[in-house]
């Protein structure tokens, strides 16, 4: 017994000192039963242990920002499903504030586009958004490559991952994609419920919430990914300071005015605040908006053209259901922790 305790303690200390070691079986991408085919083309960026570890190191390294202050993880913390919890608008270097609430990161292999306005069309080039945004990392990819080239240890890691110690923008981006594409969330209570597994026993309230959800929310937040990846105007009033018209900024099409990406609701209870500008702090506020404060406009989603009717109890039940989408296996998955050296 004493030995066991010592061994466990030793393992814990070792673990804390060196982090989780990645083995080949840790980087096997899973397509859960019944899920659609991923959009991401893995054949063009085969995930390897070294590539995943390099991506992980880059994700946590503030070297990506111009002044070395801000990493990807600064605004994407794992325990909040990789968003910037409690920050309505995320901030970057020099404390500058962005104009949008950072999105959660998981099940990215199914994303057809990235960012609230869908301006980014591929997982691999997604990091260019935050890296170059003046209020996020304020850097350029050229400069990131230059900095990594002279930073300790990186050339060897690029060699291990890509067989080339010459660091390129392409390899920086492919490594980050190898790490982030592995953020998979499919082990919530709801998932266990649909798979009839232990731990998936829903309460009556949760089941009623699911029923109401399927009736009122499913057309956009459809299962199993809880988004249909479309862009919708959900009747939020235009913030007169930010003047953010969303998707229209990308397509220049007035029909896209005030439309934003439908986010996945997986882990939604952990990723407050809500909406593209983080204007609501609670899920109840979001549902109250849907029943009470929809702003009519030409591009409003058809679902909101006549008012949604939900009692307070209905809303509470929906929220209880939404909590079953929290996936602790994912939120505490050791593979996604920062590597200690």
């Amino acid at each position: 017994m004493k030995y066991l305790v010592t061994a466990c303690l030793g393992a814990l200390i070792l673990y804390c000192a060196f982090g989780f070691d990645i083995k080949p079986e840790d980087i096997r991408f899973v397509r859960p039963d019944g899920w659609p085919k991923p959009v991401y083309d893995f054949s063009k960026n085969k995930i390897t242990v070294d590539g995943f570890k390099l991506g992980r190191k880059l994700f946590f390294d503030p070297i990506l920002s111009r002044d070395g202050s801000t990493s990807c993880a600064s605004c994407h913390t794992q325990w909040s499903a990789f968003t910037h919890v409690d920050h309505g608008l995320s901030h970057g270097i020099n404390g500058l504030k962005g104009k949008r609430n950072s999105l959660t990161l998981f099940n990215l292999a199914w994303n057809k586009s990235f960012m609230w306005d869908g301006g980014i069309n591929h997982l691999e080039v997604q990091p260019l958004g935050p890296i170059t945004n003046p209020v996020e990392m304020g850097n350029t990819l050229e400069n990131v490559v230059k900095k990594l080239d002279t930073a300790k240890g990186y050339r060897a890691r690029f060699y291990l991952a890509f067989g080339d110690s010459a660091i390129t923008g392409q390899h920086v981006l492919k490594a980050l994609a190898q790490f982030t594409v592995m953020f998979e969330s499919f082990n919530s209570k709801y998932d266990k419920y649909t798979r009839h597994e232990p731990g998936g026993e829903m309460t009556e309230q949760e089941l009623n919430g699911l029923k109401l959800f399927r009736k009122n929310c499913e057309s956009c937040h459809n299962e199993p990914l809880f988004t249909n990846y479309s862009f919708q105007n959900v009747g939020l009033s235009l913030d007169t300071e930010l003047k953010d018209y969303g998707r229209m900024g990308i397509t220049q099409d007035p029909q896209d005015s005030l439309k934003f990406k439908v986010p996945s609701l997986r882990n939604v209870a952990m990723s407050y605040p809500y909406m593209h500008d983080g204007r609501f702090r609670t899920l109840l506020q979001v549902l109250d908006h849907y029943t009470n404060t929809i702003v009519q406009s030409p591009t409003l989603a058809k679902e909101f053209r006549k008012p949604m009717v939900l009692s307070l109890q209905d809303k509470k039940d929906i929220i209880e259901f939404l909590k079953t989408l929290t996936d602790k296996d994912f939120l505490f998955d050791m593979r996604f922790r920062e590597e200690r050296e």
Binding site: I120, N121, H122, V125, L128, T251
Partner: protein, 251 residues
């Protein structure tokens, strides 16, 4: 003088490997494409030389870069040889980018085709490498896509900070795709085989791009209607200067 030294050095470096490769009477030859940045009939000089555009305005060019991709060569007759995936970034500031060589099958060619810009496939396929690496400074972050051509400079007619004008032209989504197909007809059929080296010299004339007054339009940096209209201008930049064939002597 300097220019000729460079040219001969360039030819020497290109000839040597070709000479080595030619041993098994290969059925292919090498074509060297040389780009000549111009302003009207003068070779383009960046920053310190002034030019006068079609509107009589004096201007300076500070930066001039563009992509040439999807190279292919029409054989006399009907077949085309496509150099799949070949992409080249020309930067007027970097002499090394002003020429490149490609190997193509022996034959008699009538036209050299390329895309001025980058086609939609490459714009939607993630992080590419080589000249298409997003670290080349020709890539938009917030709205994915390549900047297919960049022209920057300054002129007193521009009522902007430092009198600067800047055109970053791109966009792959219809109807505002800014890539343009260019066909350069070769006046005499170009015979390609392992005994000759062909050089095709192409002028890229900035004056042909600037067909709107800088006083009126001096900044286009996002995809859309204006960018697509300007792409129609840069499609007119290219013309054949001349085509040279040098016999190689084999032992």
């Amino acid at each position: 003088m300097n220019y000729f030294v460079r040219l001969s050095l360039l030819l020497a470096t290109l000839l040597l490997p070709a000479y080595g490769m030619a041993t098994p009477a290969s059925d292919s030859g090498i074509i060297t494409i040389v780009i000549e940045p111009m302003f009207g009939d003068q070779p383009l000089q960046l920053s310190d030389k002034s030019y006068v555009d079609n509107f009589g305005d004096t201007l300076y060019i500070d930066l001039f870069r563009f992509y040439m991709t999807d190279l292919d060569f029409d054989l006399r007759g009907d077949t085309t040889f496509v150099l799949a995936g070949y992409s080249h970034l020309v930067d007027a500031e970097d002499k090394n980018t002003l020429s490149f060589s490609v190997k193509i099958p022996a034959g008699t060619y009538s036209t050299f085709n390329f895309t001025a810009g980058v086609d939609s496939f490459e714009n939607t396929s993630g992080a590419n490498g080589g000249d298409l690496d997003p670290a080349m400074g020709m890539y938009w972050a917030w709205n994915t896509g390549y900047i297919m051509a960049k022209l920057e400079g300054h002129s007193n007619v521009c009522k902007t900070l430092h009198h600067a004008f800047e055109f970053h032209i791109g966009g792959y989504m219809p109807p505002y795709n800014a890539a343009r197909n260019i066909a350069i007809a070769l006046p005499r059929a170009m015979i390609v085989d392992h005994d000759t080296r062909n050089t095709v010299r192409i002028k890229a004339d900035v004056a042909a791009w600037l067909t709107t007054s800088l006083a009126k339009v001096n900044s286009i940096v996002i995809p859309g209607k204006d960018a697509a209209a300007m792409a129609d201008n840069y499609a007119k930049m290219y013309s054949l200067d001349k085509e040279v064939q040098i016999p190689l002597i084999h032992k």
